[in-house]
Each structure stands twice: as structure tokens, then as C-alpha cells.
Symmetry: C2
Subunit: 207 residues, 2 copies
DNA sequence: GTCTATATGATGATAGAC
DNA sequence: GTCTATCATCATATAGAC
């Protein structure tokens, strides 16, 4: 007689295994987004996920690893790339800047993405590892996707300028909640800051 | 015979009174700037100032009050206003945006100002009181000084857009150290982002 | 004004029972 | 997989001696 006894066969994933794991990740994303790396305690995260604090350590080892796992965005660069590639004419017609804002604002509607990005932003200012992750994210997501659209001489400066406006927009709109930017529609924002990004990408910026 | 004994008269401030007070403030500015509100401990601040931690409480009561005292910029709005008023022709000639960036970058050379602003930025993301102070600062410093230069309909949106680019610039250049923005000269930055601010102030931004 | 001593509580992490 | 119990460390804050 096999282990388990009565007639019910033991197929599929055993209960409670991956459910708590992902519950912890969701809670971690929310709390890292709300309070930043230092402010979010493992105890709070566990309580939010409805599990024991020791389980968090059991699954992820330590807080750093949990943060890395929670903030990891496996396919965001791909999503951004796909969105940008969806309108190939924009690049030639000088609408790349506007398309870029529109994409950023649209991707932001995804709650998981939003929490991850805010968590990174919030933590980057006080946690060096988070800052490194944010820099890498900006590099891979923005730089790699639009780099071939800008000319070589001041390419890095142009990308950095784009990043400065995008980061500032995310900060003021989604973190500091500066009005009326916070409650503006995506369309309004696209019209307002699109031309800025366009100029940074292909306009006159140096002296 | 008066208290104090020998010939030396007891005039002026007694030693050790305001010296440690201001030493604490300087240390607090530096540590709040480097580590944010939560990361900077009173112990660290006291150690940096070379005084006993209990003295910090004795002088300022609690951490909140110390933060408020350290981050208080009594005359920054005045400085900003004076710098903007120094070139009255700029407003009429459409160079207000460039003058604004130039002023921000120039004021930033003041180390005390720089530390205060970074401290506010770094703390604003995890500390609600710091966020409120930053919003007030942005309001009084930027809004009040250039509000009369922009037309009424979307005045608040225009100011918020200016704030978004300025905050993003400070974040990427001075906190995240994104290159080549971090090592660019003030002149380069003025040329690059000046037109952006000018357009936000007086250009076409809505649909 | 300055410091020692301490109250009080939260944190990340670990060992080990079930 | 789950939880209890606990360690070591850090924090803010206070009381009170000198």
C-alpha cells in the first residue's frame, strides 16, 4: 500500500506550497511600494500576506533576496519594446517622444507594474541596491529600445534627459501626487510632455 | 566680586552653547541628505557632530523637530526670487525657462542648500511630513515666483509640469547620479532643459 | 550644558518542534 | 510547510546626576 492510504490519489501540486509564496510576493510588492525598502518590515509583509514571518525567511532567505524577487520585472523591457514597435511610423514622423510617454502612462495602468516601479523609485533613494536595480531597469528598458533612434554624438545625454523627465513625471504624478498632474488623463500628459521627449531625442539640445 | 572670580569679564555668549546647536544642525543636514529621514539616526547625527545623543533631544526635543529645523530654508524663496528678478528682460523675451534652470543649478552650488534639498527629496518618498514640506517648498519657491508670468487657464498644470522636470533633473543628476547628466556643466543643462521649461510656461501644452 | 543609565519597543534572523 | 520561541541589535526617548 502506498503512502497516503485511502483511495484519493496524490496528483498535482500539494496545497499551500506556491500559494503562500506568491501571496508573500504580492504583499511585499505592495509594502515596498508604500513604504520603501527600509520602511517595509518582514513582519508587516507577512501579516499583509496572512502568513507567519518565519515563512518569509524560509522561502526567500533574507530581506534583500525578497526585495529582488518582488521587484524583478521579467518582461517589462519586452512589453515596452512591443508597444514602441506597434507604431513603426512614429519613429520616422517625429512622434516617438509622444509614443514613449503614451506607452509609459499606459503600462502604468497595470497595478503590479505600478507597485513595482513605485517600490523601486521609493527604495532607490535610500537603498543602494535598489538604486542599482532602477538604473539597470532604466538602461535596459529605455536606452536599449530607443537608442538606435537617436544619433551618436550626444546619445547618452539625450537618453539621460529623457530619463530625467520620465522619472520626474512618475515622482510628481504617482508618488508626490502633485495636482493637477496626478489626476490628469494619459492623453493630456502625452500632449504636454510628448514634445519634450521628442526634442530630447532628436531636437537641438547642446550649445 | 562678581561670579567668575578673576579679572576676565563675562561678556558675550557663554561657550559651548550655540556652537553645539549648530554643529548638530549641520550634521543633521548631512545625514538626512545622505540617508533620508528614517535612515539617519539621532545617534549617528550626534556622533557626526561630536556630541552626546542626549544633547540632541535636549536641544530639539525629538527627531521630527530636528528634521524640521534642519530642513528649514528661511530665505530660499527670496534667493530664488531675487535671481529671477535680476534679469527682468528674460520674462518678456521668452527666456524665463532658461533663467529658471540656470538659477536652480546655480543655487545648487551652495552646499548647505544642496544638502537640504537632497534631504527633503530623499525623505519625501518615505516620510509624509517631509513630503508635505517639499510640496510647500515647491509651491512657495516656484509657484509664487513665476505664477504671474503664466496665463490663468492651465496655470496650475504648467507649474506642475515645470516641477516635474525640475524634480526629475535633481533626482537623476544629484541623487541617482545618472551620467552624463551628473557631470554636465550648468551651462549645458541650461541649454538642454531651458526650452522645456519655457514651453511648459508659455508654450502649447493642452489638446 | 553635558553625560550615564535605562525604559521601551521594533527589527532581521535563526533554531527547532510539529 | 508551518509555527513558537528567542537572540542580538538597533532605534527613540526620558530621568536624573554632575
Amino acid at each position: 500500500m502506498t503512502k497516503g492510504g485511502s483511495g484519493r490519489p496524490r496528483r498535482g501540486r500539494r496545497p499551500g506550497e506556491s500559494k503562500t509564496r506568491s501571496a508573500i510576493l504580492v504583499a511585499a510588492r505592495r509594502l515596498f511600494a508604500d513604504q520603501g525598502y527600509d520602511g517595509a518590515s518582514i513582519r508587516d509583509i507577512a501579516a499583509q500576506a496572512g502568513v507567519d514571518p518565519a515563512l518569509v525567511h524560509h522561502f526567500y532567505g533574507n530581506k534583500e533576496a525578497l526585495f529582488t524577487a518582488a521587484m524583478h520585472l521579467p518582461n517589462l523591457p519586452e512589453q515596452l519594446g512591443a508597444a514602441l514597435a506597434s507604431d513603426p511610423a512614429a519613429r520616422a514622423e517625429g512622434r516617438l517622444g509622444e509614443l514613449l510617454v503614451r506607452t509609459v502612462v499606459a503600462l502604468w495602468e497595470d497595478k503590479a507594474l505600478q507597485r513595482t516601479a513605485i517600490g523601486l523609485l521609493r527604495s532607490a533613494l535610500t537603498h543602494e541596491r535598489a538604486a542599482a536595480m532602477l538604473r539597470d531597469f532604466v538602461r535596459s528598458a529605455i536606452l536599449a529600445r530607443v537608442a538606435d533612434a537617436v544619433e551618436a554624438p550626444d546619445r547618452d545625454l539625450r537618453i539621460a534627459l529623457v530619463a530625467s523627465q520620465v522619472v520626474g513625471l512618475l515622482m510628481t504624478r504617482y508618488v508626490l501626487h502633485v495636482e493637477p498632474l496626478a489626476s490628469a488623463t494619459g492623453e493630456e500628459i502625452a500632449h504636454a510632455v510628448g514634445p519634450t521627449l521628442q526634442r530630447y531625442l532628436s531636437g537641438q539640445i547642446s550649445m
